[in-house]
């Protein structure tokens, strides 16, 4: 048979349990806007009962645990979406920048410069001996080569910018990796002490989120609570492993530069998802492809113009240079307008070269005779437009599914102030009831003492 003191003991436990529940509510409210915070719930259960003969007497309430409300499979799914979204967001943004560099459709792009160049030759063909028209041809040639130079320069600047972003991204990844290692240690220690490290787990989750946005990662949890992380097939973090990444610039045999990600001066690490994956894809594939296409156009134009021009009496080339980066007017043409060949005969009224030049825009002499400069350029701009549009659609569609998953996660793990308010009321009432129990029990004890 339990005495009145037992009732007081139950009331005491109830008050302590409700105070704890109130503390958890307070923690939730305080962190309602904290990034990565997972709402916590105090789990109260009935104490193990005492048995007296055949009767079981309850012993009040006990705080079993304070748990995070988290759905791990949702986390995994969301992180996969974050990685894909990071990649397509970067790709979309970079392709948009590339579109801006191409500056089409406009009256100041490369297409217009090419047209103006052909037109200047057509003008010259109408009066091959006219020095003003020769000067126009020279000026349009200068503008055209400058347009090629600028395109190449801006794309090179974009490549340098991407390299720099990759290095920053790798630095950020390494910082997160270092932080995760430290959090792992704290989690292990807490788990050893038997403490549930809810807030440290939140920190782990937040770091995984941020790492997933940066790069596609694979991860898992050891029994002691610490996390391991893989990038591609490379283990970069585990209990005894810490391998920061390194962005290394390589000089390739063709004179271009390439950026590769290595682990800790070791093997190359393949990253094809996340922000870094998108940047690497742009830097290694898309950007060089467009740069090479512009170079091919420049080389095709230089070769064809020079082959026609050098057949004239001056015998000099019109353009010098080997690609879009160093294309320029031939020094001789720059210095002396008389050296511009309007015809093979050099006679003042002959215009066969000028006429041939004027018609080059729509003549298929590029890509082994498959395409004209106009078709080549328009085709390239069109391809870029399609790629950019596809990237934007992918990004928008991934953003929608990412938002939906994020909403699901927030529905599961986010703090609802209204819910916490109702909890406060619930806990307050339970606490006040426990206090009342003490008062009544006290009165009963008083009555007993005064008998």
């Amino acid at each position: 048979m339990q005495g009145l003191t037992h009732a007081l003991d139950i009331a005491r436990r109830a008050m302590i349990a409700q105070q704890t529940a109130m503390t958890v509510i307070g923690h939730n409210i305080a962190n309602a806007n904290s990034e990565g915070y997972t709402r916590q719930v105090a789990h109260l259960t009935a104490e193990v009962p005492s048995v007296w003969g055949t009767i079981s007497f309850g012993n009040g309430v006990a705080l079993e645990s304070v748990m995070r409300k988290r759905d791990i499979s949702l986390d995994n799914e969301l992180r996969r979406e974050m990685s894909s979204h990071g990649r397509w967001l970067t790709r979309s943004s970079k392709l948009k920048s590339l579109e801006q560099i191409m500056n089409e459709p406009s009256d100041t792009g490369l297409g217009a410069a090419l047209d103006a160049f052909w037109a200047s030759w057509a003008e010259l063909s109408n009066s091959p001996d006219d020095m003003t028209r020769r000067a126009t041809v020279r000026e349009e040639g200068r503008i055209l080569s400058h347009r090629f130079n600028t395109l190449d320069q801006r794309m090179q600047q974009m490549a340098d910018g991407i390299d720099s972003e990759i290095r920053s991204g790798v630095d950020e990844f390494n910082l997160l990796l270092g932080e995760l290692r430290a959090v792992n240690t704290s989690v292990r220690e807490a788990e050893l002490r038997g403490v549930s490290p809810n807030d440290l787990r939140d920190r782990q989750d937040l770091i995984l989120d941020q790492m997933s946005e940066l790069s596609g990662i694979a991860y898992g949890e050891r029994e002691n609570g610490s996390l391991f992380v893989r990038v591609g097939s490379t283990l970069v973090l585990d209990e005894a492993v810490f391998r920061p990444l390194e962005a290394v610039i390589h000089d390739l045999p063709d004179g271009s530069r390439q950026i590769l990600i290595h682990r800790d001066r070791g093997e190359e690490v393949e990253i094809d998802e996340g922000f870094l994956g998108g940047l690497l894809e742009m830097r290694r594939e898309s950007l060089p492809e467009y740069m090479a296409a512009i170079d091919a156009l420049a080389v095709g134009v230089i070769d064809q113009i020079n082959s026609l021009h050098s057949a004239g009496p001056s015998g000099v080339d019109f353009f010098h240079g080997t690609d879009a980066s160093d294309m320029r007017l031939a020094r001789e043409v720059d210095e002396d307008l008389h050296l511009i060949n309007a015809s093979t005969s050099g006679l003042p009224g002959d215009n066969d070269i000028a006429l041939a030049m004027a018609q080059l825009g729509s003549q298929r002499f590029l890509a082994g005779g498959a395409t004209s400069p106009e078709e080549y350029w328009n085709g390239m701009v069109g391809r870029l437009g399609v790629a950019s549009r596809e990237a934007r659609f992918q990004e928008e569609s991934l953003q929608i599914s990412r938002d939906a998953l994020d909403q699901q996660r927030m529905a599961k793990s986010g703090v609802s102030l209204d819910e916490e308010m109702t909890q406060i009321l619930q806990v307050r009432q339970a606490y006040l009831a426990a206090v009342k129990l003490v008062e009544v029990t006290d009165q009963m004890m008083d009555s007993l003492m005064n008998m």
Partner: protein, 301 residues
């Protein structure tokens, strides 16, 4: 469904961001009047617009080519017309000189007329248009024909100055379309520029009182006239052809401009209506978000 406080904020932010983005995009399109700012706005239409713009620029160039070629042809026509008139005059003089009723003095006077006409033919052969000798083939800078004169300074024929006087001058008047616009000395005066030799022979025969020789030359003069007349027909047909091309290019340019506008330009009325619609939506979103953010159980406790 459980709604957390963060969800409300995130959702409101996302909705506002979408509404602002749509409004900003529309505003950018309205301010430029263009539907396509970047190729990705409509890659297919961009390809069409680029091709059309290139065609339009080429058309502008073709119009200039046609205009210049027409001016050249008009100058040629005027000069050839004068040469036709001269050829008729020479024929008339020769017919008169072949008449037995003309005495020596009259023949001398007729010879002097022919001499004057020959000088004019030489001048016509070296006609300039905008500093270009129009009948000189590729020899456009200096007079392409030099007179050969007898001891008394009378023209007996002409010779070309250097190479290229028979060159065919072509002009770019359409896409991959070249048009020959010039007449050469041979077109006008025959092989070896015999017309001038024939006229000189008429003059010399008249001076010598050799009417038989003049009669023998009359059929040759007829052939010379036919040749010059044919040249006149050529210039006339060139001008007609160029006029037709000009009209054709104008028509095509109009169609191309319409096609460009259809692909590239913004449907302003629709865009403005869309803008107003988006504006209303944004205002409604702002209003509901502001309301929603203010609602909380906290306010009632």
């Amino acid at each position: 469904m459980r709604i957390s406080t963060g969800m409300l904020h995130a959702s409101a932010l996302s909705q506002l961001s979408v509404a602002w983005t749509r409004l900003q995009n529309l505003q950018a399109h309205i301010s430029t009047g263009r539907r396509i700012h970047l190729p990705s706005d409509d890659p297919f239409a961009t390809g069409r617009v680029l091709a059309i713009k290139s065609d339009l620029r080429a058309h502008t160039q073709h119009v200039r080519g046609i205009d210049e070629a027409r001016q050249f042809a008009v100058s040629s026509e005027a000069a050839v017309q004068r040469l036709v008139d001269i050829a008729i005059e020479v024929q008339e003089i020769a017919t008169m000189a072949a008449d037995d009723s003309y005495g020596t003095d009259s023949l001398t006077a007729l010879a002097t007329q022919v001499d004057g006409l020959l000088e004019e033919v030489l001048s016509m052969a070296n006609t300039q248009h905008a500093d270009i000798r129009i009948f000189g083939g590729f020899q456009t800078r200096d007079d392409p024909f030099i007179a050969t004169r007898d001891r008394d300074g009378r023209i007996v024929g002409i010779t070309p100055r250097g190479e290229g006087t028979e060159g065919r001058v072509q002009r770019l008047v359409g896409d991959q379309l070249l048009l020959t616009i010039n007449l050469t000395g041979t077109d006008l005066f025959g092989e070896g520029y015999d017309y001038l030799t024939h006229a000189a022979e008429i003059r010399d025969a008249a001076l010598a009182g050799d009417q038989e020789a003049i009669r023998e030359l009359l059929p040759t003069l007829e052939e010379d006239f036919d040749r010059i007349n044919l040249a006149l027909a050529f210039t006339g047909s060139t001008i007609t052809r160029l006029d037709a091309m000009s009209e054709q290019v104008d028509r095509e340019s109009l169609l191309l401009e319409a096609a460009r506008s259809e692909q590239e330009d913004l449907d302003m009325a629709r865009a403005l209506i869309d803008y107003q619609k988006e504006q209303v939506l944004l205002e409604a979103t702002l209003s509901t978000v502001a309301n929603l953010m203010d609602l909380s159980l906290v306010n009632y406790l």
